[in-house]
């Protein structure tokens, strides 16, 4: 592990820590303190009686983490083992990262959330005798959030860029396919560091959600190979039904880097047909002055549970995605991904997928990938 903390990082982390301590003090000041949310232990053990604010007992639920009494603190995480082989290249086996999710909700309106990734743990190529390991630690996400109401929440810190719907939860255990769409991986910065206003309204049994955000400070704690933008401003609007059966979204992001601006816009949709088929789609177009950011692309993805064919195939899904990605200065590429995803337990996720790249580029090629993810 090799933590890399600059003065800016320390400053942001310190500010969040001070807020966390202040929130904790607030929580302990109120008597009697109801739990921020009842944990199975404190609620069941007392048949619902209020208990003093406490970090004990610890309760572990697979795939939901460890909760510390009724303090509002929960620590969990996930990890993924990947085996992938691009055509003609040696196979690569990697325990890519350990990700820790830390959630602290000391009082009703205040929450702190962080995702600490310890990356590059183990990597072995089939044409090599050596196992490469260069562990490093960085925050994928780290933010504080104050919620005045369902319609108004203010966030400060580093968070996933709310462009489209894939990028909101792009990590391996939370996606249907083993590979990510190229337009999400290459199209825009995965995270923003700054402020965001977001919330939801509920007109006529529908949900309208919005995001307004901007990268107003320098990118915080990025991976060493990142080349983040300087500043940004963006927004997202989503409209759907209350149970997530369908929804439509529109996103707009303006990014500035080295004095140049690029504008990215997109539309996305999700549709669940009956209790079975799930479809999602995103389309993005981007253009402006920042080199390497002129592109357009779109994909449609489907997940279909195979227990429809036989009960023996319970919790097994056929998944597929068709994508077109056209980056200026590079050949346009069509990517066809298909595979199987098995979710035998909430905490276990196995995928096997094949990506066929039509008119492939050097960095987007045919690929076979297996992954095993564990949520803890």
């Amino acid at each position: 592990m090799r933590p890399r903390l600059s003065a800016l990082r320390r400053g942001l982390a310190g500010a969040l820590a001070v807020c966390a301590v202040a929130g904790s003090a607030l929580a302990q000041a109120a008597e009697p303190q109801a739990p921020a949310a009842p944990t199975p232990q404190n609620a069941a053990g007392t048949n619902g009686a209020h208990t003093p604010y406490s970090f004990v007992p610890l309760a572990y639920t697979p795939a939901r983490g460890v909760s510390f009494g009724n303090s509002g603190l929960t620590i969990g995480g996930f990890s993924t083992l990947e085996i992938e082989r691009e055509n003609d290249a040696p196979a690569d086996v990697a325990l890519d990262s350990l990700n820790f999710l830390v959630l602290y909700e000391p009082v009703d309106s205040l929450r702190f959330f962080g995702e600490l990734e310890i990356g590059d743990l183990l990597d072995w190529r089939s044409n090599s005798d050596d196992v490469h390991s260069d562990p490093n630690a960085f925050f994928e996400r780290l933010y504080a959030e104050y919620s005045a109401s369902d319609a108004l929440t203010l966030r400060f810190g580093k968070f996933q860029t709310p462009v489209g719907r894939w990028n909101l939860a792009p990590a391996e255990p939370f996606t249907w396919t083993a590979t990510a769409p190229a337009l999400v991986e290459e199209g825009f910065d995965e995270q923003q560091t700054g402020v965001a206003l977001h919330g939801s309204f509920y007109p006529e049994k529908r949900v309208v959600s919005y995001w307004l955000y901007g990268q107003v400070i320098d990118a915080f704690d990025g991976e060493s190979d990142d080349d983040p933008i300087d500043r940004s401003a963006g927004g997202r609007l989503e409209y759907g039904d209350v149970r997530g059966t369908w929804s439509f979204g529109a996103s707009l992001l303006g990014s500035r880097k080295d004095g140049g601006w690029t504008t990215t816009g997109g539309l996305d949709a999700k549709l669940r047909i009956g209790p079975r088929l799930e479809l999602s789609s995103e389309a993005l177009v981007s253009g402006g002055d920042i080199p390497g950011r002129d592109y357009w692309g779109a994909f449609v993805e489907a997940a279909y549970p195979l227990d429809q064919l036989s009960p023996r195939l319970a919790k097994l899904y056929a998944v597929g995605r068709v994508e077109h990605f056209d980056l200026a200065g590079a050949p346009a590429v069509e990517l066809v991904d298909f595979g199987l995803t098995w979710l035998p337990k909430e905490w276990l996720n196995l995928k096997v997928g094949y990506r066929a790249a039509i008119h492939d580029r050097a960095d987007l090629r045919d690929e076979l990938k297996l992954s095993l993810s564990v949520l803890y």
Binding site: P38, P40, L101, D150, L168, K315
Partner: protein, 152 residues
């Protein structure tokens, strides 16, 4: 005498929202008696239990409580209100886990749910109609739907 008074209390608590008599096995969504002004339908309850709607009208955080995963009551509630299969719910909560949203906490019996809701003004729960008394208010009655195939 005491039983009659309790029955009367239950009837009064339920009267504003429940016109037809409750069958013992009906599911009811319950809230604290102080939440007499809250009007909920199945869509509202679904939003609350999927953690999309997080606050009561007075701005307080909603604290939903579930029954344990193996509970028949929970399965009936999910069918009637959430309209999602257990697998779809699992996918939903895994995604929420990544986003830092915890699922509702669980309690192991109707009695525990009722007692928790009776004491916690922010809480909402669901129990069989046979479990309720005047300590909680029925916010919604959910006649149980016929079980669907496990493959759904």
């Amino acid at each position: 005498m005491r039983a009659s008074a309790m029955a009367l209390g239950v009837a009064l608590a339920c009267a504003p929202l429940v016109s037809a008599p409750l069958a013992a096995e009906d599911l009811v969504v319950i809230v604290h008696p102080d939440r007499a002004h809250e009007r909920l339908d199945a869509d509202d309850v679904a939003q609350i239990y999927l953690k999309q709607r997080l606050r009561w009208r007075d701005g307080k955080t909603i604290v939903p409580v579930n029954r344990e995963p193996e509970s028949d009551t929970r399965a009936a509630f999910a069918r009637a209100v959430l309209e999602l299969s257990p697998q779809q719910l699992s996918v939903h909560w895994n995604r929420q886990y990544f986003l830092g949203v915890r699922p509702p906490a669980t309690l192991a019996s109707d009695e525990a749910v009722k007692r928790f809701v009776a004491r916690e003004k922010r809480a909402i729960g669901y129990v069989r109609a046979s479990a309720i008394d005047a300590s909680v208010r029925v916010a919604l009655r959910l006649p149980e739907r016929p079980s669907r195939s496990p493959r759904e």
